[in-house]
Every structure is written in structure tokens, then in C-alpha cells.
Symmetry: C2
Subunit: 243 residues, 2 copies
């Protein structure tokens, strides 16, 4: 399972200190864009793949979803979800999103935030999602941007004074495993090209509705490091719909 | 007009020495991918925006197009097109693709190779293309990749021995003019994000059919520099269709 890192106490303690863990959606720099991509949740059955703390599950429920299933492979994450984001319409389930078995056509909407770059076989996941969705079902997801995952280390290139010079891209067309450092731990991720993300959706009967490379909202721009996020794309958001 | 650079004698002489100028389609590293995106040209009226030497115009005619209009703003380019790629079904016209006036619905297919990154107002161009196309018309184009245009100089970042370290990305989210060096001349180009390219198409009623970030074909891989093209995306190819 890709993500049992999140069950390592030391790593999880650091993750728990991140603004987005402490404060939820309002502290996530991409939330103002992701929110706009979400479809109308009213009366919909919603699946959240890699739900983490469950912020999006609760949001979907509060927006009128019929029921929400949040799946994550970390029990520590789900404990936080239960503590912070319980809702009568939301069910949390421990599981690896790549091993999940769910009834066909059971959901009208699938959402996923920053989970798919941990998945090695994206095609297989998209085939599964297609099966789990009902006709004309919708999928909205965010991943680390292919430019951000290409080289591996996911760090800026610095000058002699430690100043940021630019963001380095390398091995872009070579898809596969990368070792990044996140919160001081080595993390295994999978790099895919942008064309792969788009064409895998198209090949599985999805239409592309919107693609966003989010920049931080104005009111976050003065936080440390935020303005540098204009210099490279860090995340890729995509809204798709089954034909 | 963006491209009168191509009418500068010194620049044009250098351009004329490039393999793709000398040998045409077979010498263009992306041709094997672009070709696959082209629709069936039989009985279609085809417009080629920024046709250059006219290689694609002649190809479309040879594939059975009813008529092909190739437009370019460089008379030197069109002289070469007339000399190398004349065909009874192909007409070449001198003109700036951003100032062009054409009848509505006159074409079933629009193609364009490596021209749109010279265009400042992409939205306006896409609105025009939508008008020039008939219902369910198709558009296939290539541009320099947003990763390639982001920083400006379009050169690798080198180590102390002059070896390539990686490709630098900077100012990605700041769209607009860039000064690149191409064949020893300063060239004005316009950087746009990948999301801009995709969403401008979507906003104008196109569906995305395919997106390709081409890598060189196997039989070119041993040519100087070709293997390095796996390290960064240099071109973006897109096939779209009016809904």
C-alpha cells in the first residue's frame, strides 16, 4: 500500500501541523479553485478517494449530498476525519484506493484530492472509477503537477546565496516512480505526463470539462513562499464527465 | 505583425538550413505524432494557419483534401512553399493569421504548426477559428510547450563543465511576452499556461480529443540532442473538435 507512511507516528505528527491539517479547506491554497470545479452535490452519491481528514467529504455532505463514502488507507487519517469531520451522511472506510471493490454505477460523483500521484497504475484506477460511476457521472481531482513530479526531489534550484533561481524539470517523458522528500521523509510518488493524465481520461470515455493550474488566492499571497508558487505549476486540477 | 523576422534575409538563411526546412516532414521530430492527430482530409476544405514552407498543405492535398488554403505572413516562406510544395488543390496567401478575414463556416479542418505561440491574443484567434469552421469542424495544432516558453530564454541549465543539468521553469503563471533566442536572433513569443490553452478551447465550444507531448521517434533518437528531448516537454500537440 502506497501510503502507510501516513501511519508513521513521526511523519503524521508533522503532517498534523500543516496549516491544511489544522485549519482545513480555508488553509489549502488550491481550495478556491477546486471548489469551483465541484459539481452540484445535491442528492448525489459521492465517493472521495484518499479522503484524508475528510474535509471534502463533509463539504459535499453540507452541500446536500445524499451520501458520501470517504476512503483512505491511513487509520490515523480516518481517526482525524472521525474527530473533525463527522457528518450523518458521511461514512469513512479504511482501504487502499487501488484495491477497492465497489458496486458498479453506485456513485454520481467521485472526488479526489492529491492522492492519484501515489498510484502506480493510473489506467486501472480510471477504469475502476468509470465502472463505479453512473452514466454521465462526474470526476473532479487534484494531483501534483507533472512539472512538479518530473525530476523527483520536488525542490527549487538555488543560487549561491540560497536564493531560488528557478524550478528544475528533468526526465519529463520517463514516467514512473520518483523519490521525493516531504516533511523530512522519503516518499514514493509516480510521475506521469500531462498528456497521460488527459488521454487516460479520454480513453476511458470521459470528456475534459476544465483543467486548472491553481495559483494562491490574493489573501494568501503574502504568506511565506506563496508568491513563488507563481513561478512553477505545483498542482493540476481536472474536472471530467463520463460521455 | 509578429513574424516578419522570417523575412529578414540573415535569419531566413539560417532557418532554411534547418533539417525540417531542407527535408520537410520526415525531418520534424514531432511529425509522427502530429500525423496521427490529423483527421481524414478527404473532401475537406482545409485551412493551415502559419503554413511556412507548406509541407502540411501539400500533405493534406495529397490525402484527398478538396482545397487547402495556406496562410503565412512571410513572403520568403511562401516563395519556398510555391517552389517546394505546389499542388493544384493548394492556394498560398500572404497574411497575418491574427488579422485574417475569412467567410464563416468555410472550412471543415484547421491545422497549424508551431505558430500560435507568436500570437498574443489566443482567445480572439480561437473565436475566429470557431467562426471559420463548419459545425463539428476539427482543429489540430502544435505549439511550443508552456514549460518550454515559461522562463523565456528556452535554454537548458548547464553545469560547470557545460553539461545539461535540467530545464529551468520560471514565471509559469505569468502569461505574456517572452524574448527567446532562435537561430541567433531575438524572437518575441507569448507564453500561456497549459490550462489556458485547454480552457480557451473548451470555452469556445471545442471538445478536447487528444493531447500529445511528443518525444522523438526511435530512428531519430541518436541524432545530436534528441535524447535530451525526453528530459523536458518542448511541444504540445492538441486535437479538438467543435461540439
Amino acid at each position: 500500500m502506497a501510503l502507510n507512511l501516513y501511519d508513521k507516528e513521526e511523519f503524521f505528527q508533522k503532517y498534523a501541523q500543516m496549516p491544511r491539517s489544522q485549519k482545513g479547506l480555508a488553509a489549502a491554497g488550491e481550495w478556491h479553485e477546486l471548489k469551483k470545479l465541484f459539481p452540484d452535490f445535491r442528492e448525489k452519491a459521492v465517493l472521495d478517494l484518499g479522503c484524508g481528514y475528510g474535509w471534502h467529504c463533509r463539504y459535499a455532505a453540507e452541500q446536500g449530498a445524499l451520501r458520501v463514502l470517504g476512503v483512505d488507507c491511513s487509520q490515523k487519517m480516518l481517526d482525524q476525519a472521525a474527530a473533525k469531520n463527522s457528518h450523518p451522511k458521511v461514512q469513512y472506510q479504511l482501504g487502499d484506493i487501488t484495491q477497492l471493490e465497489l458496486p458498479a454505477g453506485a456513485f454520481q460523483v467521485i472526488i479526489s484530492s492529491l492522492a492519484f500521484h501515489y498510484v502506480e497504475d493510473f489506467s486501472r484506477l480510471v477504469e475502476n472509477m468509470k465502472r463505479w460511476l453512473s452514466p454521465r457521472g462526474e470526476l473532479v481531482f487534484s494531483v501534483e503537477h507533472p512539472i512538479f513530479t518530473a525530476q523527483g526531489p520536488q525542490d527549487w534550484h538555488y543560487g549561491p546565496q540560497g536564493e531560488i533561481l528557478h524550478f528544475p524539470v528533468d526526465n519529463y517523458s520517463m514516467e514512473g516512480e520518483r523519490k521525493a522528500v516531504f516533511l523530512g521523509e522519503s516518499v514514493k510518488k509516480f510521475h506521469r505526463t500531462l498528456a497521460s493524465y488527459l488521454n487516460t481520461m479520454l480513453d476511458n470515455g470521459f470528456t475534459i470539462k476544465r483543467v486548472i493550474e491553481p495559483t494562491p488566492p490574493e489573501d494568501m499571497m503574502e504568506l511565506p513562499g506563496m508568491r513563488d508558487e507563481l513561478r512553477r505549476p505545483m498542482m493540476l486540477l481536472m474536472a471530467c464527465k463520463l460521455r
